[in-house]
Amino acid sequence: MSNRKPIRWGQVGTRAIVYATLGVAALLIAFPFYWMVISTIRPENEVYTVALNLLPSKLSFAMYRKLLGDPQLPVARFFLNSVIISIGATIVNVITAVLAAYALSRHRPPGGTIFYYLIIATMMVPGEVVLIGLFRVVNALEMIDTYQGMILPLAVNAVNFLLIYNYMLALPRELDEAARVDGAKVWQMLWHITVPLTKPAVYSATLLAFLSAWQNFTIPYLLTQSNNMYPRRWEPSLPRVPSWRRNRRR
């Protein structure tokens, strides 16, 4: 007697359609990236041809050498600035989000709901609205053209707070109570119990914070003056520091 299940052709067909659809979608998403990478290692004249050549006729890393070795355009320096700003903003962002979420979700302090809604309300304000105020605050703190000045405005994010807050809210309160019975302090409860259990949300927040800082154009552009402090967004298409941006600190 064989235990083999009969093949259900309907199920196989459905699965084939699903995988084919997903495969086409994946291809559509991945192809522009493939084209971007492959275009960088083609000889320059091939980039402008209309023909769809999926592989370069000859590998050429000349453009990488040109961009990374050009003293007039310190791409490596811009890149380093971006890395410093993004990592700095991510670290501060995650720490503030974890601390705020922990306090408001696990300890429920008096007035906590008001703080919760105040934090959520910041999501409804478009970033552009606060730009002038932000510039004035950073200018008053004498942080224009510094890493701190660019990290601080990027370092607080209500989305990350909300992500971690909701995750912490779902953790059983008995864990905190058991730790408290064992004599754990608040910091020990946070560091040894809550944070390890909240890891998925913390990792998600880390990724979102990094991406948000890495992709941000406006704030670093607003708060930098010298070429050396520019993050990577200052591509070759953009001019050097324009004259109106120099000496604008009043």
Partner: protein, 40 residues
Amino acid sequence: MATKQETLTLATILTIPTLVVFVLTQRFVFSGITAGAIKG
């Protein structure tokens, strides 16, 4: 003005850190994003 290849090369270089962070955190990212939403 930058040439098309310069722009694409810079874009490729700049994608690397995002990829690195994603690879390091992707194991937890999707569960982290969806898990908080279950709680009513």
